[in-house]
Symmetry: C2
Subunit: 347 residues, 2 copies
DNA sequence: AATATCTATGCAAACGTTTTCATTTTCGAG
DNA sequence: CTCGAAAATGAAAACGTTTGCATAGATATT
């Protein structure tokens, strides 16, 4: 029994061809354009491939046709609840298209993002999704030069320089603020993550501010506090705030911070929404089940991930579409137990 | 001005070589084995590459040398808090080694895992980390046949068939159960995720059971309940349980379930640990800050991720080490506010 | 000064596919 | 049957690197 094996120890397309009594070209076609090969031959090839345990080498193929079958996803962080749902749905959808996903996180460091995009390009990704609009020019230029389909996701803007799929974060901020204001709250505290290199947080904050201004309220600057993307830190900051003068409501830049606030209130024996109303943005896993349920705005992470994957695959196939366009996904305000009208004495 | 560009529109190694006045081979060496090229020449090449905006094609290179520079990570789920920290640290460490990560989730479907591993092999990964020991034989055989470095991570076993890096999940289960038993609880309810295709959960459960048996307790079967990996579902199950006869303590298979239990108690106006003690396993993000803080066992996800990345890179480089070995990472019991001695009347 | 060693580089053959173009086979119509 | 078109296949040239071997200087050794 002669072993027909290439260097790696695994059979290649040539061995399969030999065993099936056809040429390598036909085997290749059997995989890539099955309709071009006679059903009978195809069967024989499939059998030969199965017998040999053949696994094709997509990388070798990608040298000839330009497609690696891999897409990049660059996020600020994988760890936090925020993007996990997005990553999972993006990956699942790519898998559905027989593609794979390279993920990398830059931790809100745009300099690191440059290195990441470069490394993705070295792997010849067929396309890449970046979070939001705040990016260094260098990677964008590299992607443009190489005509790599690029998508900005998660946030939305009419005048987006890149094609984008995302939610209106300004509106999200406006919605939650409006809700509190409509209930009668007049002195909210805003707890937002740092806004540099983070257009989503910036837009949400701007939206909340706009709503506040629309009510004729002039918010003193000390009512705007910065809280990092961290449950524990947010909780600590809120505990500090409880010691000082307690507001009647807190608008949080995202659900993580809001959960921290809720925990802080529980620790400080404050009733929600009796003593304090809390709103978040995002509707992450857990926000519906925490006690009290968190009033928030649902950002459809899953839909964004799916759509982004579909669009990227499509873009990579059709050589066209140089003009940017954008797709807005719906957000929904979700009222739960964490908000109520202000009570006498507070605020 | 003559354009020296290849099909893609981007310059290749040949253009760089031309501009630097050397052969492509030298440019290649400047990248891969810099010591082999004269510093002066190297400078010239670097300049030429920078001028042209050259980005090398690692895939083309990987055809010749066997390394794609990409590693696979196959997890049950990305979405849940459980593995996010692991994924992030694994990716970060790979980046540190100038490698990238392909992630895929199979949702506890071992059949899907087969397809995933196959797809990873088609991408010529340099190595792969799988979660735990429950795997289909097919992908393991494919990996073995191709001599792809494979690591089982997250769980630990002395007699692991694969090299592994992980924590002793049996001991984790034992520790939390022991803690409750030592406090005087005698009739805990166990709330665990489904254990098929999940050796971690199985081991934890076995550990908890062992501790219970060691106390001479014969746990009635209805005291063991299955709860999926979902906060909301766990909360609902616990609310049901509150209606029936309330135990004095609940041992949860992981922190997600434990958080659901805590929320359920808050919803049912039960005091923790006054009316009920709760323990989890994992010490996920949030477990320290929830009110009351969750008593749990810390599994060092980050250390596992880092170590796994280091080891895989090392394995991919050294052609040796066919014999399996295993690395145990420490776990630490963390007592927080969610546990206390049973009170009269309960249980 | 001649020879032996390095060091730095170039040449050209891989690597495992895909794809163009040409050729053969099949099939339906006359 | 024969012919022409369509369908199925094969031969060989890519794809953009890396690397073994060979060569040409440079340096060290006698």
């Amino acid at each position: 029994m002669k072993r027909l094996r290439s260097r790696r120890g695994a059979p290649g397309i040539i061995e399969v061809a030999q065993r099936a009594g056809v040429s390598p070209a036909t085997v290749s076609r059997a995989y890539n354009t099955p309709d071009l090969v006679k059903p009978d031959t195809r069967k024989r090839i499939e059998k030969a491939a199965a017998d040999l345990g053949y696994i094709r080498d997509l990388l070798a193929g990608s040298l000839q046709n330009r497609f690696s079958g891999t897409f990049g996803l660059v996020v600020p962080t994988i760890d936090n609840a925020i993007f996990a749902e997005l990553i999972e749905s993006f990956a699942a959808r790519l898998r559905h298209h027989d593609r794979t996903m390279l993920v990398a996180a830059h931790g809100y460091d745009l300099q690191l993002e440059v290195a990441i995009v470069r490394s993705l390009l070295e792997r010849r990704i067929d396309g890449v999704a970046l979070i939001g609009f705040d990016h260094n020019q260098i990677p964008l230029a590299m992607l443009r030069d190489r005509a790599v389909p690029t998508l900005s996701i998660w946030n939305y803007r009419d005048a987006s320089p890149l094609p984008c799929v995302g939610a209106d974060n300004f509106e999200a901020g406006r919605l939650v603020a409006e809700h509190l204001l409509a209930m009668g709250h007049r002195d909210p505290v805003l707890l937002f993550p740092p806004t540099e290199a983070n257009d989503r947080a910036r837009d949400r904050l701007a939206g909340a501010m706009a709503a506040i201004k629309a009510y004729g309220i002039d918010l003193p600057p000390e009512r705007l506090r910065v809280a990092p993307y961290d449950l524990g830190r947010a909780k600590a900051i809120m505990l500090d705030l409880c010691e000082a003068d307690l507001p009647s409501a807190v608008i949080c830049g995202n659900d993580i911070i809001a959960q921290g606030v809720i925990y802080a209130c529980q620790a400080a024996q404050l009733a929600i929404p009796g003593d304090l109303s809390v709103v978040g943005i995002g509707d992450f896993r857990g926000s519906a089940h925490i006690e009290p349920g968190l009033t928030t705005v649902r950002l459809p992470a899953q839909r964004i991930g799916l759509t982004a994957a579909d669009i990227l695959v499509e873009m990579s196939q059709s050589r066209a579409d140089p003009e940017p366009w954008q797709k807005l996904v719906d957000i929904t305000f979700v009222e739960r137990g964490s908000t109520g009208p202000p009570t006498m004495g507070s605020g």
